[in-house]
Symmetry: D4
Subunit: 237 residues, 8 copies
């Protein structure tokens, strides 16, 4: 048999926190509700993290998680996006991570960004509904946008907002295309291609609707900043 603890259907990666800075996160889609619970329990019991995050839970999976953990652990559920946090994350920083959204229809994905940041110990700071069709909205909040060490920008349709933000800040911009739109948005493809072809320098992109991935990348940047760098000049790293 294989090394490590593992149920019949899963091989939980208990070493991930040591390697990557944070333990395994459960991607619930396609798993049976009891499987999501079982993996969450194993992760909590093995103690690689004080809290567990499961993303993309449907109603049955959320119900199973509530039934398993309510009253035993703090539990927070994102009603729009289906993310579930069990346990309490250790706060690593109070620096805000700006999460800029183009429209109110993008809030589902932005919620996944925010909950992931919280689960990883960082502070989400939402700046909502400031798309490019009314530029004064984002221009009026530039100080808030510039307050972070990086910015997450969430947009559907043509996905233009990261290009505009990228031209206004001096920090990394992580762009999340959303499936908001219809017709030739092709499920978020238009926003994805727009962001990949951004004329603003240094915008990087994650998968369509992948709020989790964007938040995780943002938190990796925050951790590098907190650590002070693996920098020969200052001897750290």
């Amino acid at each position: 048999m294989q090394e490590g603890s593992s149920s019949d259907f899963a091989t939980v990666d208990h070493d991930r926190a040591a390697r990557c800075g944070h333990g395994e996160v459960i991607y619930a889609a396609g798993k049976l509700p009891h499987e999501v619970v079982a993996i969450a329990q194993e992760l909590l019991e093995r103690g690689s993290s004080p809290c567990v995050l499961a993303t993309r839970c449907d109603d049955a999976q959320v119900a199973a998680m509530r039934e398993a953990f309510d009253g035993k652990q703090p539990i927070e559920v994102g009603e729009r996006c289906g993310a579930v946090i069990v346990g309490t994350a250790e706060s690593k920083s109070t620096t805000p991570i700006p999460i800029v959204t183009a429209g109110t229809s993008d809030l589902k994905v932005a919620e996944e960004v925010a909950l992931t940041c919280k689960a990883l110990g960082f502070e989400p700071y939402p700046i909502n509904d400031v798309g490019v069709a009314g530029l004064h909205r984002i221009m009026g909040r530039l100080d808030e946008v510039r307050a972070g060490n990086c910015v997450v920008v969430v947009a559907g349709m043509e996905g233009a907002l990261p290009s505009v933000v990228g031209g206004l800040v001096d920090v990394p911009v992580i762009a999340v295309p959303t499936s908001v739109g219809y017709g030739a948005s092709f499920g978020g493809l238009s926003a994805l291609l727009g962001m990949l072809n951004s004329c603003a320098s240094g915008v990087t992109v994650v998968n369509i609707d992948n709020g989790f991935g964007a938040a995780y990348a943002a938190c990796q940047i925050e951790r590098a900043v907190l650590r002070g760098g693996r920098n020969p000049e200052n001897g750290s790293g």
Copy 2:
């Protein structure tokens, strides 16, 4: 045999000016050089228009046009885009038609817009290299952008500029996606999809690199304005 004048290979549409307001324009791609010249000659001789426009001429076609018409007719050649005007257009209006481009790599398409406007009797007004990565560039020229009865916006890559312009003006915006870009721009597809999914209201779109079509549509708008409308309230039309 069919009605009207026609060579072996073409059925020239001499009635088009009466129906559509401007005579047939020659799309040169895929035609032999002598065919382009022959169609141009027939159009000029039948007199449906004082000048003829041929778009997308390659070097051989341009040379054939020069050889046929130099010294007989005024001839203007767009060196970037291969559009050729033979004869002199009758000026219909001196209202500027703003042609806004995102980057200098879009100038090839913008030149086709400008030459088409001239051939149809209208005044192109270029506003170049004002893409969204440096918003102050377009913001600093808003008065010029707002001086037209419509605006043509030319952009490649993510094609975000029409959304920004569309949110700043109260006239129709005609967006031209260009094939500027590489990789996941897929030959202009990213800009095309971006423009079709624009969050700004009322942006309409033409084919990738179709400067001619955008200019033609803009001139149809200008003509409607000049005519004063087919408006029961003022008895015209």
Copy 3:
């Protein structure tokens, strides 16, 4: 905090009517019913427009709008397309805007065109079921098609109707591809590509099923005509 009035989830763009000629329109998809209502209320209260338009409302959103506004404001609901008008638009012109549809299956989208025109103060004029497989249908109604300052053409499947109309009129043609069809129509892609590649000059295109966008663009043209142009020749603008 940001400037202007804004709820938790939205940053309403009250300045849009001044910039663009008409206030913000609510794109309901992806919003919670109470959010649609709240934005509509804020728009009406701030008075930037005597009426509000919400597009793509589902049954729950329509019900919430009816509950919020019935008896207080006039309310009109497009049963096919889910557009909702609350309040009464100020009539700006009685010039008809011809809305030509290829088949009866396109009526859903044509209804969104018509309601948007009404919400913006213009008169929709439907010409239905005149697709190219029976040319005499459109030929027999040419006078009506030519009565407008622009034409909106709505078609699915191969999307050929705008090319035919574009060759018969001397005004701008705005083409709306619909998702009517199956198989290789790929959700309206065939009609979209057909319209973008139209052999008729000056056809411009909006997103698949985007009746709203086509109507908005048509109304911008009508407004330019009403205004008489920003034309140095006549001193306006």
Copy 4:
């Protein structure tokens, strides 16, 4: 070893005329010039057909064919499309097969249609440059279009012409999309999709630029008509 005559690189299908009504046709693309010649020689020597057709020959292949057969056999070369006929086809019918093209840029493909018809013993009848942007052109030649037992329609860009023709005739319409166009024509995809989604009943479609296939199908229809049908009512077949 396998049955039948065959060189090292090819297994010529000498039985095809018996099965399908016409011998094998050589698709030259990707073959070395001497291979094209060798297959042609074997087909002529085995006598399954009085003439041989090779399509899509490049300059080197055409030159090799000329060198091999000039002075020995009649040879006809399509200068635009690279089709080569060696030998003389037996005339099977003088009924014209109408070949309708939308624009002069489609002539390359139409030439392949015409030469294939000739090689199979039928009469091509070209009707050129009658695209839908000027409907009077096709309307003025309806008698000629209706003179055949079927119609081949060749069009690029949006590929609308087969829908219009399909609504005007009572015979099978075979549509050939061409790669004429640019940008979102995606090498003929727009015309292909347009034709597959035609609102006219009974239009069938071949591959992009496949003039050969359309002509072959048309000739199969002509042969069925000549034969009088495999019809229990008249005892034939």
Copy 5:
């Protein structure tokens, strides 16, 4: 107003039988049930055809048709495909039209082919489940396949059957790709592309799942055969 009879939502094409050989067929998708009934009634009353065909009816549309016509007119419903015939077609020929299907999952589309043939007055002849993975199945029924003046071949997945049939018969082959398959069949795209790229000469193709269109084209061929051709050699046409 326009010529001819027309309800509010439709412009019925009563002239189509004269032009195309058969009256208008109702494509039910996207129409309201009462609209389908109303168009059927108008077609029957105006007498352009003794029977009416409606394709792609859903359960509600079928029920409305039954309620409107049961007891008044003969009515036949295709349970798999949703085609409905009201009235009795005039038999035009008893020549069988072979309809060859690759697998039993393709029967839904084959049923639409068969019912359309019947509605147009021709005899469908099904040859089912003879796909290329067991070649002896099609080889054992070649006489039946060769008994028609044309062949309709229905296949999903890789769509290989038309190529095999096309190499075995001397009549036109009309190929219908079906959406049978999963994964990289992309809703029938694999079969469509396979058929368009068939190595067998003269295969023509209709849209994915378009049994109606294939049958219509086959019947046009049968009609041309019955008519004896518009052939100068025999003086007809």
Copy 6:
């Protein structure tokens, strides 16, 4: 009539076991429940195989199979994937066929692999949840992976696991892309393309989610090994 036994809707291929080594397998999608049962009964009665496999059964089809065979034949149902085995396969080998899955969401497809192996007489050996984001998981089980004559690797998302496995074993690797993922996974396209472009030599690929096909190919390899080859060196074959 055609040769062999066949119901109205199907032409069962009873000769397949002789030609291909295993009898026909029923692809249930698109078939009516009673059709699935009827084909299964005919296959069992004609005795070409001691057991029958039906894949992709939905709930109604599973119920019909249970009703038809429960108490008469052993029946095994894959609850995740809908595969049904009726009867008992003859064991042909006890060599394990390793089935490696990247994540627990891939278990549905892996179950189809396993049940197909069993129905064909071979032993599935699952190695689950060992994706590349935690390399130690697959590295810790290399002995098990290397114990087979071939390996089946099942992965969604980016489909990287076959490349890693392919670089670690000296046997054929059969890769199954799954539709696990969202957004730009485009229903499994990302995994499919990843596997087709694998930098590891000799990885072959089946359709998205095609566990059946991968297992069938693996069993063909096992059968070749059992047979000892058609090898001139050892006189077999």
Copy 7:
């Protein structure tokens, strides 16, 4: 520094023969000519294989290889496909590996299959130009096709040949789609999709034009057969 021998630009994988059964093969595309030579020299000097294979060499790379190795090592160059073998492979088996091609235009890819087999120590056995449009060609050579432990099938256009072969043999079929075709073949996509959706069981597929990969997989199967399996029943492995 990293372990093992490595030049500036490459990290040669000298351990691959031990892990995978054959040493690293050089994919020449995108490498400078001297880089291809340098890697080949390092592989030969380190002795992990008696011969080296480089695929996809252009003229300059072939010339550099000839200059470096002519007179020192046996060298064989595939003139069509650009594969180069330096040194002499150790023969591992004389069992033929049937390589079946649909048409002569597929010979370029088939040559890469054959040369790869030779470089890996196995015997290629070409069966050319036996596509499905003339079924008797493949049927007449079935004994040769069935003589191997597996079959490689190479086809472009619709890619139907693997389905036909898969239904006729009881060994694994490895399908290679080629880019032969035009228009809607989309560079081999049609053949690729056709093969992935094959109705024949157990066909596996490699990348478009990937003759190397197919041959490598076939040789892995042959090696498994030679080894007699890792079979608990016979104690080997």
Copy 8:
């Protein structure tokens, strides 16, 4: 006229260094050689940066740059990728930025990453040819990979390397898909999709072949680390 210095064709963004941390970079594609030189001169003269970077220069553009600046300014040209640095960047850090490439064919893109890092004042650290088909190569260099504050990973084909690296490090991973590959790599699409769907958390992606963008994003991260963060906890920002 617009604010700021600007030539006829360009509107140089001299304010970008202040807003974004680095001045405008010239994307040379589609610009005339003298235009590239003129923009470079204006950027150097206005002093917003001690050096200028132009990417994607072709031979003519490189020659023009050499002619303009050789002898006046230090100039460095990337021979593979066409990037040109004029002037000397101010060194901002000596922390290595690891640039990991999968194969030697990816070196062209990796060179663009490296030169961009240099132009922005950071140290590139190449780790070449360590793709996943030989895992020991990347495993043997993990210390070097982990020495940075972020990692850039460059890979073509299936693009699996970022997933493997992402599972082994605790810093941000920026993935660059390359167009290395053929057939179903579709110009880098396979690598792009693979990276967007990475199962490793927190991988972000740039456009195909966009070495510049990846490097720019990496340098933004390095700058954030150097700055020590805009962190309320330490009072900076």
